[in-house]
Amino acid sequence: MTRILWACAAAAIAASSGAIWAQQKSSADGIAEYRAMLADGNPAELFEAKGEALWKTRRGPKNSSLEACDLGKGPGVVKGAFVELPRYFADTGRVQDLESRLLSCSETLQGISAAETAATPFGRGEQSNMEALVAYISAASNGMRFNLPQRNPEERKMFELGKRAFFYRAGSHDFACASCHGEAGKRIRLQDLPELTKNPGDGVGFAAWPAYRVSSGELWSMQRRLNDCYRQQRFPYPGYASDVTIALGVYMGVNAKGAASVAPSIKR
C-alpha cells in the first residue's frame, strides 16, 4: 500500500495548478458549510425517541420489555454501554456487538427469534426496530470515550481476526476494507475516508456510527454500514451480526480507544 503508485504520479500531482488546489479547497469549505447547516436538527433524534419507547415497551411472545437486558454494564444499564462494545458476554460465550447483543436479549427476554430478525432486510420489521434501538442506546453514550475491554482472550482473538479481515483482499476488484480506510487523508469523490487502522480522532470513523444517512433518509447501524461497505467492496453478503462483522467492530473499536462518540451522527 505504501509503495508509490505510478512512477510519474508525483510529477502529475506537482503539475496540478494552483487554481485547481484553490478549487479543491473551496469545495472542501463548501461541504463543511453544508454539514454544519445539517448538524442542527439531526433526524436521528426521531429514531432515538422511538428507540427509547421500544426499550421500555412490553413486546414479543413473552410480552416483556428490554429493560432487563445486560449490554455489558449490568442489566438495564444503557448509559456508557455503547462505548464498550463489542465485548465478551459470559451468558452467550461470545463476543457481541450492540446488535448481536440486542438479538440475544430480544430472544431471551421477549421471545423474538434472533434468526428471524437477522434474516430480515434492513429497514423492515424488527430491523427497523433495531435501528431505533441502536439510535437510543448509542445516544445515551454520546460524548463518552471508546474503551473496549480486551481482558478476555476471546476479545483479543476477535481483535486479531478483525485486523486480518480488515486487510483481506478479494473479489472482482481486489478490494479490502484497507483499500479505502488504510491511509489517512484520502477521499472517495468528495467524501473523506477515516483511517481505521488507528484512532482517527473524536467523532470520526467508528466513533461516528450509527448515523442518520441523508442519502437514504434512514438510520444506519454499524451492521448496516459494514454491510454496505462489503457490497461496495464487491464481496458476497456478510450475515447480520456474523463473526466477521463483530471482529471488525472489535478491531475498529479498540483502535478508536479514547475517541469521543458523536453517535448517532448525521452523514451524507
Binding site: A11, I13, L161, Y237, S242
Partner: protein
C-alpha cells in the same frame, strides 16, 4: 512495522512454522486458519456476488497477509511477473477510442455488487473518479490514486499513434489491464484481467487519458 505491536502474531507464526512439532502447553491461536474459517462462515451468496469471490489468488493472499506492509522482495517480483503475463494488447493494434465515452465510464461507479444485475462488462463502470482526479471540470474526485489530470500532456503525448508514444501507450494499457503487473499490491482493480471492462471500454478510457483532444490534456 504494525506486526511489532502485536507479539501475538509472532506467536501464531511460530506455531505455523513449527507445524505443531512439539505440543507446547501455551495455547496459541492459528489466526490464519481461524480467519479462513470465519470468512467462510460469515458470508453467503447474494445475487451475482457469490462466496467464491472470497477465494484469493497469489497476489491478494500475499498482500492481505502483509497487513498493509511491504511484501518480501521475492514475493513481490514473482507476483508482478505472473500478472505481467496476463496483459493482452488490443487485438486490432488500436489503443485509442472515444474520450467522451471514456469520461462516462470514468464517472460511472457501478458494477459487480450484489445489487447489480449482471457481471457483463457492459453493465460496469470504471469507478475512476472515486479514486482519481481526471478532468479539471469534475471537482468531485477521490484521492486514493494519483491525479491523472493532464496525464498524456505531462508525458509529452501529442499523437498517441506515433512511435514516440508507443512506450507510454502500452504502459498505460497494461495499468488498466492489470495494475498488479507493475505494482504487486496496487489498490487498483485489474480491469482487463478480471473481465471488468472489455477492450472497447478500455480503449475509451485510454482516449480519456491520452487523446490530446480529451479535456484531461487541456
Amino acid at each position: 512495522m504494525k506486526q511489532a505491536q502485536h507479539p501475538l502474531l509472532y506467536a501464531a507464526v511460530a506455531v505455523i512454522v513449527s507445524i505443531a512439532g512439539c505440543a507446547a502447553p501455551a495455547p496459541a491461536v492459528d489466526y490464519d486458519a481461524a480467519l479462513q474459517q470465519m470468512m467462510k462462515s460469515s458470508f453467503r451468496d447474494q445475487g451475482i456476488a457469490k462466496v467464491d469471490r472470497l477465494q484469493q489468488d497469489e497476489a491478494d493472499a500475499a498482500c492481505s497477509k502483509a497487513l498493509g506492509g511491504p511484501l518480501p522482495e521475492p514475493t513481490r517480483v514473482a507476483i508482478e511477473a505472473a500478472n505481467s503475463k496476463t496483459v493482452r494488447m488490443p487485438s486490432d493494434g488500436q489503443f485509442i477510442g472515444d474520450w467522451k465515452l471514456g469520461e462516462q465510464l470514468a464517472q460511472n461507479g457501478r458494477g459487480m455488487t450484489w445489487t447489480d444485475a449482471s457481471t457483463a462488462p457492459s453493465s460496469n463502470g470504471g469507478n475512476c473518479y472515486n479514486c482519481h482526479q481526471i478532468t479539471k471540470a469534475e471537482i468531485s474526485y477521490g484521492t486514493i490514486g494519483p491525479s491523472l489530470y493532464q496525464y498524456g500532456k505531462l508525458r509529452g503525448v501529442t499523437d498517441p499513434a506515433s512511435p514516440a508514444s508507443k512506450a507510454i501507450v502500452e504502459y498505460t494499457w497494461g495499468k488498466l489491464w492489470n495494475a498488479k503487473a507493475t505494482n504487486a499490491c496496487s489498490g487498483m482493480p485489474r480491469f482487463g484481467h478480471n473481465k471488468l471492462l472489455d477492450e472497447t471500454q478500455l480503449k475509451n478510457l485510454m482516449a480519456l487519458l491520452l487523446d490530446p483532444k480529451s479535456p484531461v490534456n487541456q
